[in-house]
C-alpha cells in the first residue's frame, strides 16, 4: 500500500471510528487495532489521547493472552466452576471513572475497543461495540 493510500485508508477508518464514538452518549473513544501487532488502524477519542489508546490496546491484548488468565480459569474449573475451555475474546474493565469494552473479531485479526464513562450501562456498551464490529468487520 502506498503512503498516500495508507493515509487515506487511515483517515477513512478514523472517520468511521469518530462516527461510532460520537453517536453514543457516554462514549469517550473508539479504536480498531491489529491483534498481531497492536497497531491502531483507526481511532477517535474525546478526552483520550492517541498515546493512551495505544497503550490501552497493548494492555488489553496482553491481558487476553495472559497465561495467568488461563491459570485463574483452571483454578476455578478445579473448584467446579467456569465450564468449557474456550479462550476469552471479550473483555470489560470498569473503574469508578471509566468503562472499557474490548472485543476480538471472529477471525481473530482485529481488536475493537470502546472507552466509555463508567456510568454507561454495560448492556449499552456491549451493544455499541458489537454493532461497531458488524460495521467494521467488512471494512477492515
Amino acid at each position: 500500500m502506498s503512503g498516500e493510500s495508507g493515509s487515506t485508508r487511515r483517515a477513512e477508518l478514523d472517520a468511521i471510528c469518530k462516527d461510532i464514538a460520537i453517536s453514543g452518549e457516554g462514549a469517550l473513544a473508539f479504536a480498531v487495532a491489529e491483534t498481531e501487532s497492536g497497531g491502531i488502524l483507526g481511532f477517535h477519542g474525546e478526552k483520550i489521547a492517541p498515546s493512551e489508546m495505544s497503550q490501552t490496546v497493548k494492555g488489553v491484548l496482553a491481558l487476553l493472552r495472559n497465561p495467568d488468565v488461563a491459570r485463574v480459569r483452571a483454578a476455578l474449573l478445579d473448584q467446579g466452576g467456569i465450564p468449557g475451555s474456550e479462550p476469552f475474546q471479550e473483555l470489560r474493565l470498569v473503574t469508578a471513572s471509566r468503562g472499557l469494552y474490548a472485543k476480538v473479531s471472529g477471525d481473530g485479526r482485529r481488536l475493537f475497543l470502546l472507552v466509555t464513562e463508567a456510568s454507561v450501562a454495560p448492556g449499552w456498551g456491549w451493544k455499541e461495540i458489537r454493532s461497531a464490529q458488524r460495521r467494521l468487520e467488512s471494512t477492515v
Binding site: 491481558l63 466452576g81 468449557g84 473503574t95
Partner: protein, 332 residues
Amino acid sequence: MVDDEEDLVWITSKQMARTRPEISFEGFLDPIEALERIKQAPPDVLISDVQMPAMNGIELLIAARRVVPTLPVIIITAFGTSEVRHEVMKRGSVEYLEKPFSFSALLEVVDRILAARTGFSGSISLPMLPDLVQIYALSASSGALRIDRGGETGAIWFDRGQVVHAEKGELLGEEAFYSLIGWQGGRFWLEKGAVPPGRTITDAWQTLLIEGCRRLDEAAAKDVPAAEPAIQDWAVISRLLRESLNGAQVLDVPLDGSSPLSEAVKAVTAQAREIPAVTGRAVLELSGTVNGMAVIWDEKSGAVVASDDISSRPSLTRFRSAIESGVRSLWP
C-alpha cells in the same frame, strides 16, 4: 403503567402478557387510581407518562416514592435535549424512554430493572434532584419544588417548566440552585402553583442542569478518597453476588499469594492495572463463547472472583447485571 393514552396502555398490556407472562402487569389511565393501587400493592416497577390530567408524572413519582422509597420508575416522555438526558441519567434513579418507543425498548429497561432488583433491592438510590427538575420542566409545571435534608431546606420555583428562582439558606438564584443540585437524598415535595417570591434565574433549565451536573462531577472528582468504600462493603459484595448469581462460582480470594488461585488472580490484576483506563479497584470481566469470568479487586482487602456459564443469553445478562449491581453497591 400509568398513561392517559388508552391505546398505549392496552397494547403494552397485551404485549407484556404475551412475552412476559410471569410479570403481573397493571395499566391505569388515571394516576390517582394508580397511586391508590401502589399503596395497596407496591409494584416492582412503575412506568409513567409525564403529562397527565389530575396528577402529572413527577407528582406521581414523588407520591409513589413516599410509599416505596426505592421504587424504580420509568418515565415515558419526549426529552428536552439528549445532552441533558444523558447528564441526568448518569446520576439519577429514574429511567427515561422517549415516545414513541418500541415495546422491545421498554422490555429491555424493565428486564434490566427487575434483574438488578433481585437480591439488590436496597441498592437502588433515592431520587435525586436532577431527575425531579427535569421531569418538572418537561411537564411544563408551575410551582415550587421544596427540599428538606436533615433540617436544611431549600426550594426551586418553576414557571411553566422554566426554572425562575431558587433559595437555599442565604443563597439565592443560580448559586442556590447549584448548591441544591448537589444534595443526594432528602425529602421532596411539590407546592403546585406556588408563586416565586422573586425571579433570580434567567438561564434555560437545560443549561442549569448541565452546569449543575458539571459541578457535581468536579465535586465528585475532589471527593475520591472519601468515596472509597468501607471494608465491610467488600464483604457484602461477595454475598450479594453469590445470592444473585444462583449457582455460579463466587469466591473471596485474598490477594496474598497463599494459594494458586490467589497467585494467578494477583498476576492478572497486576497486568490489568497496567492498562491506562484502569486505576485502583476495578472489575475485570472476561468472556468467551461458553464461559465468563469476572474478577473484582481491591488493593487492600482482596478479590472476589465470580464465574458463570454464559452460553445462553439470559445467563449472560444475569451475570453482567449481577456484577454491575455489585459494582454499583461498591462504588456508589
